[in-house]
Amino acid sequence: MAISTKQELELIRESVKALCTKFPEAYWRETDEKNAYPEEFIQALTKEGWLSVLIPEEYGGAGLGMVEACAILEEINRSGGNSGAGHAQMYTMGAVLRHGSEEQKRRYLPKVASGELRLQAFGITEPTAGSDTTSIETTAELKGDRYIVNGQKIWTSRAEYSDLMLLLARTTPKDQVNKKTDGLSLFLLDMKDQQHNITIRPIDTMINHATTEVFFENVEIPVENLIGVEGKGFRYVLSGMNAERILIASESVGDGYYFVDKSVQYANERVVFNRPIGQNQGVQFPIAQSYMEIEAARLMRDKAAELFDAGENCAAEANMAKYLASEAAWKAANAAMSTYGGYGFATEYNIERKFREARLFIVAPITNNLVVSYVGQHVLGLPRSF
């Protein structure tokens, strides 16, 4: 993995910023209004190589690390955009990279890097298994040289805009394994090939996130698309989660800075009672407090990313970064809403859109309650609650 100098990291940030100026807030407001996928933005990001930052050079990517990937997503969200439409293309391939066979890597990674194949759907959550992942009921049964998949996923984002899905399914029933985390397997599902056995239903949500329900009816996956060893899929999912959490934290950090940037600007400009509203400590303090919390969260995010890039265990830091950043961004979102007064509600000002979007990361990809219980039980050694 290549490591960037401070100067190169700055150049990465400035180049992403420059790209984002081509997609101003009006663009995001419009896609949000129409509930449309920001296709042009994703294409620009892909074409200029930003989404393949983590793919090694030998497979056609930039071969950079988490530190650089974080900078990219942070700048997108800071500009007023929403990385959620494309972030998964960056990291879903991590499962293939870390646990896939050489043949799988050669077959898929170069096409994922070029954008020819989109691998940005990740099917884990089910209606009866949200936080409790090991309770999933979607099954994959080996018949000859293929697995036959039946079941249902929910909240599978970008399924309509992805060629491949990383799918977690049970290959051994829960009551036949020693540990509930065993018997789950991870697959690369070619959704285009199996489109007749898959039904995708969009879910109408409060944000523009292209999230869906996916139904599988005798979906076929060739054995060569099983990732790693059958029954060990849960472990592979866990190992990819650190990357996901650090990147999500970066989106929250970007959101947080967005709200602070906007609040500072508005609080300086808006005059009420013959003075800028920012002169009132009631307006000023929440903005300053949010800023401090975002800066602190950013430090934890940086620490997690650096550990990740050094190949060290960063589970605690990745989780804490996701928690701290999403809470800081949410606080900043509220500070911005208060600063903007009534105008915060007007779509034209974009604050309400970013406010809705920033709220997601307290819930997904893992709820902050679960992060707190992770820290309580696994970092501090307190008794298990579930």
Partner: protein, 257 residues
């Protein structure tokens, strides 16, 4: 085609600028590639892509300009050269810069040299033409279009909003005006490739120049920010009286007529 771009690192005049001790305060300032030089870099890359050859970006300045040179490499230039005058020169002007650039360029067999029309900091617009004079090659300033056919070059030049079409030949120096093209920003593969591209650093010694050879021809007496805009005056009353008052104010107060 052997193409050279003259590039300057400048502060961003869109940011707030402050002055202390008779100098522009560099601490709070943001530094960028001079925007007109971005057009020059873009044009050079486009010409190279169409005609083949190589683009070398040169700057005269300090170590800090490395960042802007790397940016140019990430945009697509092939080589970068920093002529570092930090230890040799305390004060320099357009003559200094032009002399150094010309000394570097004189044996490089440049086919095309592109610079910005002006640098947004000093705003003199002198360096490009001076380099061409020293190299004894033709130059055209403020260009908005460039077409190269063999050794014939057709240039459109912006003259205060009108266009002038000029036919000339290579080797040639041109300076870029806004509208020449839309400069690209670096892509990630561009940034990765730039890591491996050569960035050479030279000093006056390497060009066989002494400080005296490049000694500035001018002296900066003072640098100051534009005066704060005064509140305007709104005249009132009958139109004929207003005109009389205006004329008298222009004569006696503003003393402009």
């Amino acid at each position: 085609m052997n193409i050279f771009v003259l590039m300057k690192r400048t502060f961003d005049t869109e940011e707030k600028i402050s002055i202390s001790g008779g100098k522009i305060n560099e601490d709070g300032a943001e530094f960028i590639i001079n925007p007109y030089d971005e057009y020059a870099i873009e044009e050079a890359i486009q010409v190279r892509d169409a005609q083949g050859g190589e683009v070398t970006v040169i700057t005269v300045g300090s170590e800090e300009a490395e960042k802007q040179l790397r940016t140019a490499l990430a945009m697509g230039a092939d080589k970068a050269v920093l002529i570092n005058t930090e230890d040799d020169l305390e004060y320099s002007d357009q003559f200094t810069t032009a002399k150094i650039l010309a000394e570097y360029l004189k044996d490089k067999d440049a086919d095309l040299i592109i610079g910005g029309n002006v640098a947004i900091d000093g705003g003199s617009g002198q360096v490009g033409p001076r380099v061409a004079e020293l190299l004894n090659i033709p130059y055209v300033t403020t260009i908005t279009n460039l077409e190269i056919n063999g050794s014939t070059v057709t240039v459109v030049r912006d003259v205060e909003g009108d266009s002038e079409v000029i036919e000339t030949s290579l080797p040639l120096l041109v300076t870029a005006q806004q509208g020449l093209n839309e400069p690209r920003y670096p892509s990630l593969p561009g940034i990765m490739k730039a890591k491996k591209k050569p960035l050479d650093e030279l000093e006056l010694d390497d060009l066989d120049l002494e400080e005296d050879d490049v000694e500035a021809k001018t002296k900066t007496i003072e640098i100051y920010l534009p005066a704060q805009k005064q509140a305007g005056k709104v005249l009132e009353g009958e139109l004929a009286d207003q005109v009389k008052e205006l004329v008298s104010l222009l004569h006696n107060e503003a003393k402009v007529v």
